[in-house]
């Protein structure tokens, strides 16, 4: 499902990733750990088609990202990947359900309203659909972000320290949710984290940046 070959990423003279290889099968649930500055976010950005590697190949669900022209990358982001960020990055002015619909807005989101509602109840936010991000706790906001990542039903979920800003209990809830997505929906999930507890709950662990 996710394959990297001889991946390399340098910022100026700083070599963040070099000769990095990875192969994750469909349905994997994998943690990405390593010291701060080790390149976790960098790797996730490359896998999520937000950034390009300096060298090497990335194949995502059969699509070779490195061969993909810049203008077509948005389709990969839309169809293949759901992103969850440490800081949630919801749009403050929009209600929870509107935030969930955001990925579909350019293509007309009217028909997806019900799906947004059912995703919100799936992440445990039934009854809070009309709240704005400011009226939700961090953990709840992160679960809205997870629902947003699921809207267009991508096979892959990339989460960059999804529990980094949450207390232990909320963090555990978010991880339980990710595990369910993995087990019940068969999503391939890669979670970058500093938390050994979070890493321990995953099927496999990849270490970056020794």
């Amino acid at each position: 499902m996710i394959r990297c070959e001889n991946l390399e990423k340098t910022y100026g003279s700083v070599n963040v990733l070099s000769d990095f290889n990875l192969s994750l099968p469909r349905g994997a649930f994998c943690a990405l750990v390593g010291p701060s500055g080790g390149g976790k976010t960098t790797l996730l950005n490359i896998l999520g088609a937000l950034d390009r590697p300096t060298a090497g190949r990335v194949v995502l669900d059969g699509t070779d990202l490195t061969a993909c022209p810049e203008k077509a990358l948005y389709r990969v982001r839309r169809d293949k990947v759901g992103f969850v960020f440490q800081l949630y990055h919801l749009i403050p002015a929009l209600k929870a359900w509107e935030n969930v619909l955001v990925p579909a807005v350019p293509w007309g989101s009217a028909g997806l309203k019900e799906r947004a509602g059912s995703l919100l109840s799936m992440v445990g936010l039934a009854g809070k659909e009309d709240r704005r991000p400011g009226q939700l706790s961090g953990g709840e906001q992160q679960r809205v972000a997870v629902a947003r990542a699921l809207l267009l039903d991508p096979p892959i979920i990339l989460a960059d320290e999804p529990t980094g800003n949450l207390d232990r209990a909320s963090g555990r809830k978010v991880m339980q949710l990710l595990r369910r997505l993995n087990q019940e929906l068969g999503k391939t999930i890669l979670v970058a984290t500093h938390d050994p507890g979070v890493a321990g709950g995953c099927q496999s662990v990849i270490e970056l940046g020794q």
Partner: protein, 400 residues
């Protein structure tokens, strides 16, 4: 694009744009005011220039095919205040016999001085009974309120003069009998029996009455005239008839001049065009100002929201979608601002209209302004929208 919006494909995008605009109320108000003031200025200017042109057009067409024969010492070719040496009745006969002349009438011009305000000079023209009988287009035939004068003690006042006087705080209404000073110092009471409107702005700024009254006011001998109004057979014959009149009357005493009032207006038409161009230039500058204003405001908000755009890209939007979103926001702001400007501008035009008679701008002008608004929004939004669409998602997300 419009079909997409109506059918809902782009509706979500525009709804989101609308929500974004409403999100920052202070910024939206600022943009609204900026564009609103700019476009209201444009509307007021357009309506002024429109009325200027309308008045001129009306006057020019009312004067087409007319000539005035007057003593050479009369001011302004004798078409404003008849003055100068009076013309003997023989001149009228000569003019009538000239080829190409359909008809000619003697007129007497004078000035009216209100007894309570002798420094005010109101131009007065006395029309002969023949002209009143025969000719359409004289004040007597164009009374819009009240009735035409029936004797030497009655007058009618031009619509334009009534407006001007009322602006000066001097009401002159049908039924009034104001007193006027005669040249010998005595006063005479004249009854206002009506208001006329010929469409020719010059005539409409004067008072009309019988030729007898005019002779009394100007102390002119019986049978003498201060000018002769000439109508030619065909409007395009004005020039040749002018030439033949000059030839026929070369030896007459006092020496005369022949003037086509329309030609006198040519410099006025030219200056109106110049004013028009000036107003247009100011309008364009104002539109440019609005465009810059929108552009600056949108740029500021775009810089503030770079992270948001990066997130939109991360969840699957492409650069074009982000660009469209920002353009839509800019368009919404400029359209709303223009709507405000239309309200302000039409209000302003109405207020100004109490003095200048510009009226509300006509439909084509409002359409022009609306098109301008779309242009302002689009052009002003292009650069910020382009920048928003180009944001690199990874770069922004790295920074927090």
């Amino acid at each position: 694009m419009v079909r997409d919006v109506v059918l809902g494909r782009r509706r979500a995008l525009f709804l989101l744009a609308l929500k974004n605009v409403l999100r920052k109320k202070a910024v939206a108000c600022l943009a609204l005011l900026g564009v609103g003031l700019g476009s209201s200025l444009i509307i007021v200017l357009l309506s002024l220039s429109g009325s200027l042109n309308r008045n001129l057009d009306r006057t020019v067409s009312a004067l087409a095919g007319k000539l005035v024969v007057s003593p050479r010492d009369a001011l302004f070719g004798g078409i404003f205040f008849g003055s100068g040496t009076p013309l003997p009745p023989g001149d009228l006969a000569t003019v009538r016999e000239t080829k190409g002349v359909r008809n000619a009438y003697g007129r007497v011009s004078a000035s009216l001085h209100p007894a309570d305000f002798p420094d005010l000079v109101l131009p007065f023209t006395g029309y002969s009974p023949e002209e009143i009988q025969a000719a359409a287009g004289t004040p007597f035939a164009e009374v819009v309120r009240g009735r035409a004068p029936a004797n030497d003690k009655e007058i009618i006042v031009g619509r334009r003069l009534v407006d001007t006087l009322s602006f000066l705080g001097r009401k002159l209404a049908v039924g009034d009998t104001p007193s006027f000073q005669l040249p010998d110092g005595a006063t005479i009471d004249l009854r206002v029996t009506g208001v006329f409107q010929t469409g020719d702005e010059i005539t409409d700024t004067s008072v009309a009455g019988s030729i007898g009254l005019a002779r009394q006011l100007a102390s002119l001998p019986q049978n003498d005239y201060s000018s002769l109004a000439v109508r030619v057979e065909r409007p395009d014959e004005v020039l040749p008839v002018e030439q033949s009149l000059l030839a026929e009357m070369a030896k007459s005493d006092p020496p005369v001049q022949v003037v086509a009032p329309k030609n006198l207006l040519d410099p006025l038409a030219a200056s109106t065009k110049a004013v028009d161009r000036l107003l247009l230039a100011i309008s364009l500058l104002s539109a440019l100002g609005s465009t810059l204003f929108i552009s600056i405001i949108m740029s500021i908000t775009v810089v503030e929201r770079m992270k948001e755009f990066a997130v939109l890209k991360a969840v699957g939007w492409c650069g074009r979608h982000v660009t469209t979103l920002v353009l839509a926001e800019s368009l919404i702001l400029s359209l709303a601002g223009t709507a405000l400007g239309l309200a302000l501008g039409c209000g302003g035009a109405l207020v100004l209209g109490r003095w200048l008679k510009p009226g509300v701008p006509a439909w084509p002008q409002l359409v022009q302004v609306a098109v301008l608004a779309v242009l302002v929004g689009t052009v002003g939004g292009i650069f910020p929208a382009w920048r928003a669409g180009r944001v690199a998602p990874a770069l922004i997300l790295h920074q927090g």
